[in-house]
């Protein structure tokens, strides 16, 4: 069951990512990213992170991507023209990306004995459900970082307003 879920939604995420890579129009790339995020939400759920699955759908594909799509439509961004990009990006970037991928795969596959298998559902520990665990951690041990992030969000809102304001 979990293997089927993983294969189905992993393939969907991978397909969305490849579609993001090969689409020329920004709005198509943004919608492909929504597909990736939704399938990642299902994978989070299958890994026992129900709160994060909900937050992924609400925050990422609900709020952040809507912001992206607003800006794309506001700026009327058309198909990107094919230009000769920087030569260094092609010469160093692709072998570099492939090398990072091969290195990571090598490490993960050679250590797969130490990395265990995962069972479906929220079995992190002793019967507490996921949201209870996350909130207990956030509001006790991590209370200060949690409050600081609210200041961060406030500063980001102010910065966005100042940056996007029309110059007088």
């Amino acid at each position: 069951m979990q293997l089927a879920l993983f294969i189905l939604f992993g393939a969907l995420a991978l397909g969305g990512a490849l579609s993001l890579l090969f689409q020329r129009h920004p709005i198509h790339s943004a919608l492909s990213l929504v597909v990736v995020m939704m399938s990642l939400a299902v994978l989070y759920w299958s890994l026992g992170a129900e709160f994060l699955a909900a937050a992924q759908v609400i925050v990422y594909s609900g709020a952040i991507m809507v912001l992206f799509i607003f800006v794309i439509m506001l700026l009327n961004a058309g198909k990107e023209e094919r230009t000769r990009g920087s030569r260094a990006a092609y010469a160093v970037g692709f072998p570099g990306a492939a090398a990072i991928f091969c290195l990571l795969c090598f490490v993960f596959l050679s250590e797969r004995g130490a990395l265990m298998t995962s069972n479906i559902g929220g079995d992190l520990s002793n019967g507490l459900d996921n949201i209870a665990q996350v909130s207990a951690m956030l509001f006790t041990k991590q209370l200060l970082p949690f409050e600081v992030t609210s200041v961060l969000i406030l500063v980001a809102i102010l910065g966005a307003v100042v940056l996007a304001r029309k110059e007088q």
Binding site: L3, A13, L14, A17, L47, L52, I64, A77, L104
Partner: protein
């Protein structure tokens, strides 16, 4: 029963695709979108490891990454708006004020 390594390899694939998209895309919004893809790939490794170690800390990390990504998206898109307002273009090849 899925080996944790499979989740990690999926995350590595998504991250590499994000790097490639970051390098070949010429539209500044699409470059920003590929950064979000890389953040998502890293979040998947955090959740997979949190599940493997039966610890909730990895999920807390992902929560904070989401908060920072939201702040980053708001500020970044405001910067893109003001770039477009002054330069009338979204092509990164033409936004080269800081290139000597």
């Amino acid at each position: 029963m899925v080996p944790t390594a499979y989740y990690l390899i999926l995350a590595a694939m998504l991250f590499s695709i994000g790097i490639a998209a970051f390098l070949i895309k010429r539209n500044v919004i699409t470059i920003f979108i590929s950064i979000e893809l890389m953040l998502n790939a890293v979040n998947l490794t955090f959740v997979a490891f949190a599940h493997m170690w039966h610890q909730v800390s990895g999920q807390i990390f992902v929560f904070f990454v989401m908060v920072v990504a939201a702040a980053e998206a708001a500020v970044g898109l405001a910067i893109i708006l003001s770039i477009f307002r002054t330069r009338q273009t979204l092509n990164v090849d033409e936004i080269d004020l800081m290139k000597s």
